[in-house]
Amino acid sequence: MIQPVVAAALIAAIGGVVAIAARDGRVVALGLLIAMVATPFVASPEPTALAVVFRVLGSLLAAYLLLAAARSQSIASEGSGIGVLAETAVAGAAFSIGWFIVPVEPLTGPLAAQAAGVTLVALAIVPLTGRDVFRVGVGAAVLVIGGSLLFQAWIGPASSVGQIVLTALLVAVAGATGLLISPFDAMTAMRGTAAEAPAAVPSAAGELSADSGAEIAPDAAGEAALTEAAPAVPAPLPRRPAARKTARSSAAPIPADASPTPTRASTIRTSPFGPLRGEGWTDPSRPLGGETSDEETEIETPEPLPEVFPTPGRVRRLRPREPRR
């Protein structure tokens, strides 16, 4: 019969693997939630009911913060840097190592907590060394969870205030991650950009569907911003295609002498710093519609595209034209 502590440790480790290896931001948040909820149960003696309730509520809040950021835009990152299988293998090896090593003797807490803690710390190393804000944030959260498990194993269960502060730390790390990847001040930044370059157009306005190339009606603000002189809308945010390729090509810096001339092709490019890297919008300071990088990926769109894609000097139509009578 498997002990509850061991089961909780295994669940925490599995949650860590899911959080580290998943590509979809929602699944990542779910994995983090599983790991955070399971963590307080990997303790001996078990924490009080109040502490458990507090930890669970805090875990829900932390996961929600990540989920909200993931839901606001597509946060489909590269996923694990070494692959799901490799992450699982690392987790298994680390759990075994954590189960058999004896760095502290006698152990104050359960051995399973040490094993799960070593697992989560090992899992957090790869994303922490990456360049994706979202993955680094998730790695930091997993590291904090792993550290708390090691604390429980080596020092003993945290005090009541310790549980509160640890929960606050987890919420703060998750909140900081969600904040840094969120498009919160997109409009603010775009206002600043628009002040410098009046022709700038919010990329959020007139979102393009990656599947059909058809245009979605923008909000009123974006619609008002589209004028006769407006250049092409830059970098729509497709959810699906060419995720890995574009994310890799995004490492290439944007040349300083990028031409501001709008081109047709540039209107349907994916952003090198788009949602695939964790953020949900494009850089408003970039020359809108300009050439960005030779390695950018174009989305294949059906031909012809009569009114959807604007050309310089024309009014960009946001809705299908009414048929003439």
Partner: protein
């Protein structure tokens, strides 16, 4: 009770301030009022302050109250300057959230709680990072910030484990403490922007909100430094080559920061970068305090941190005021600024004096002591070098200000007070202000503005006309306050003698369960406590005692008597 009030004010202020960011005036009002209330509440935190939550006691000390008051006051001053130079919506909520975390960190007797709260406080800086994608991956402030958050959490988490001194299984636990020392030192260096981790700090002008260097490079690193210096007492009794190697790494970073930081400030032409490098340079002294590994370094380090907060916040405010006054932050284009804004020049001179001091002053002696204790005798020449380089940075700015004014500076409004004309021909500025006032009130322009304007409108117009003067006065007041702190005024010296409860936990002889292996040293020697007063055993510490090797201090370290409890 005052601690609870402080925590409530900071918590509510941060939450409401964040929620009210979209409101132009409510967010500012909440931020300013809560910072003011937090400042007042922090002033009442002292040795008699305590708050018991469950099995953990939060106990105030003179230093914790003084530090929090200084940080809250600095935040208040900066926000007042921000009213005129550009209000960053997230600064006040982030500062309040960070202060709440630091308050718990500075008062918790449980080292795990204290260090975890410090890590939580450090995450508030993410609010200030501009969330726009960069042109190149190297300039991604978000990536640097989240990495820093992760590193700080890792460093403080590991420190929390080691300070509880679990019964490590092995012949020598030196590598464990060496690793913890290295991670914590690097976390502090990265958060402070020390060389070679200075690039994100230098780019804060582009990657973060205005005025954010004060929080990201001054307040949060100073709070972490207090915790790190207190924690470093854990390593006093450990003799290990690994630990010596870790200390050497921190010393190298500190020396590089002390030498290269001011040189970078001398060659850069953007005011934000000059200010950032000036702040980074002074953070090198904090690393030296950590590397000193002696109780003698704690008191000067605490005093230096107080002065660091006040003076460097004043410097950030000075840069913001100067940039606002002349509409540029490019140093060559600011040529002649001192002629148009002499009060800002006075403020810069006072900040320089507060930062460097002169022989015999507390801040001078603190800097001298930190270099003497933190570096080997062969590198003691760095103290005069650091003074010379710092003076060169300030002198460069002042000399540029004395030269003939550029077009930008000539066209800008000076600090000479102006008043809306009443009963006489209005000046150009007054006419513009009065016309704007009239238009705002819905009246037809072109009439006699003075006749229709009320007293309130005239005051508003006067404020608009004299905004540069008002900002300069606030900055001068802040600079004067920092000078007072630097010279031991307002109780700085007394407060610096006391520590925080984490000091006691770091010095406490561990009482742990006996291991199966025989004790490594048969004669346990309890270390003297630096705590201002006895504090309870860390909650994580359970079981009978474990032996501790005798205290070791590498040359030229001298160990002084424990600090006396603060009696005021």
């Amino acid at each position: 009770m005052s601690l609870l009030v402080f925590l409530v004010i900071c918590g509510i202020g941060a939450a409401v301030g964040l929620a009210a960011r979209s409101s132009r005036w409510l967010g500012r009002l909440v931020g300013l009022v809560c910072l003011l209330l937090a400042f007042a509440a922090a002033l009442t935190i002292g040795p008699t302050t305590s708050l018991t939550i469950g099995d953990v006691t939060l106990a105030g000390t003179s230093y914790s109250g003084f530090f929090l008051a200084c940080a809250a006051g600095s935040g208040l001053l900066l926000c007042v300057v921000g009213l005129a130079s550009g209000w960053p919506d997230e600064l006040a909520p982030a500062a309040l959230a960070s202060l709440a975390g630091l308050a718990i960190a500075f008062t918790a007797a449980d080292p795990g709680v204290a260090l975890a709260a410090g890590a939580a406080a450090a995450t508030a800086g993410a609010l200030l990072i501009v969330r726009t994608a960069p042109r190149d991956a190297e300039g991604d402030g978000r990536l640097a910030e989240i990495r820093t958050i992760g590193l700080v959490a890792a460093g403080l988490g590991f420190a929390a484990i080691t300070v509880a001194r679990p019964p490590w299984n092995g012949r020598d636990d030196g590598p464990i403490f060496a690793l913890a020392f290295l991670i914590l030192g690097l976390a502090l260096a990265v958060r402070s922007g020390a060389v070679p981790f200075h690039v994100p700090a230098a780019r804060l002008g582009r990657t973060a909100a205005p005025l954010s260097p004060a929080m990201l490079l001054v307040w949060i690193p100073a709070g972490l430094a207090v915790l790190a210096i207190s924690w470093s007492a854990t390593t006093l009794g450990i003799q290990s080559d690994w630990l010596n190697a870790s200390i050497a790494v921190v010393q190298v970073v500190a020396v590089a920061t002390l030498v290269l930081g001011p040189l970078a400030a001398l060659v850069h032409d953007e005011l934000e970068e000059v200010v950032a490098y000036s702040i980074v340079t002074d953070a090198g002294f904090v690393l030296l305090a950590m590397a000193a590994r002696t109780d003698s370094a704690a008191e000067p380090a605490r005093l230096w941190l107080i002065v660091f907060i006040a003076a460097k916040t004043g410097l950030v405010a000075w840069a913001a005021g100067l940039s606002r006054a002349f509409g540029t932050s490019n140093v060559p284009r600011l040529r002649g600024w001192l002629r148009r804004t002499p009060m800002l020049g006075l403020a810069l001179a006072v900040i320089a004096v507060a930062t460097i001091g002169w022989p015999g002053s507390p801040v001078y002696e603190a800097r001298s002591t930190l270099i003497r204790l933190g570096l080997p005798s062969g590198l003691q020449f760095l103290f005069p070098v650091s003074i010379a380089l710092a003076l060169a940075c300030y002198a460069r700015l002042l000399l540029i200000g004395l030269r003939s004014a550029t077009e930008d500076v000539r066209l800008a409004r000076s600090e000479l007070p102006r008043w809306p004309a009443v009963g006489r021909r209005p000046s150009a500025d007054a006419a513009v202000a009065a016309t704007a006032m009239t238009l705002a009130s819905g009246a037809e322009p072109g009439g006699e503005p003075e006749a229709s304007a009320g007293v309130g409108d005239r005051v508003a117009a006067a404020w608009r006309l004299n905004r540069t003067t008002g900002v300069s006065l606030v900055i001068v007041a802040g600079a004067a306050l920092s000078a007072a702190l630097a010279f031991g005024g307002l109780g700085t010296s007394n407060a610096s003698r006391s520590g925080i409860p984490l000091d006691a936990a770091a010095h406490t002889t561990p009482t742990r369960a006996p291991t199966q292996a025989p004790p490594r040293l048969p004669t346990p020697t309890p270390l003297p406590s630096l705590a201002p007063r006895p504090t309870p055993e860390p909650s994580g510490a359970v079981g009978p005692s474990q032996s501790i090797p005798p205290s070791f201090s590498p040359a030229p370290i001298t160990t002084s008597a424990p600090a006396q409890p603060n009696t005021d």
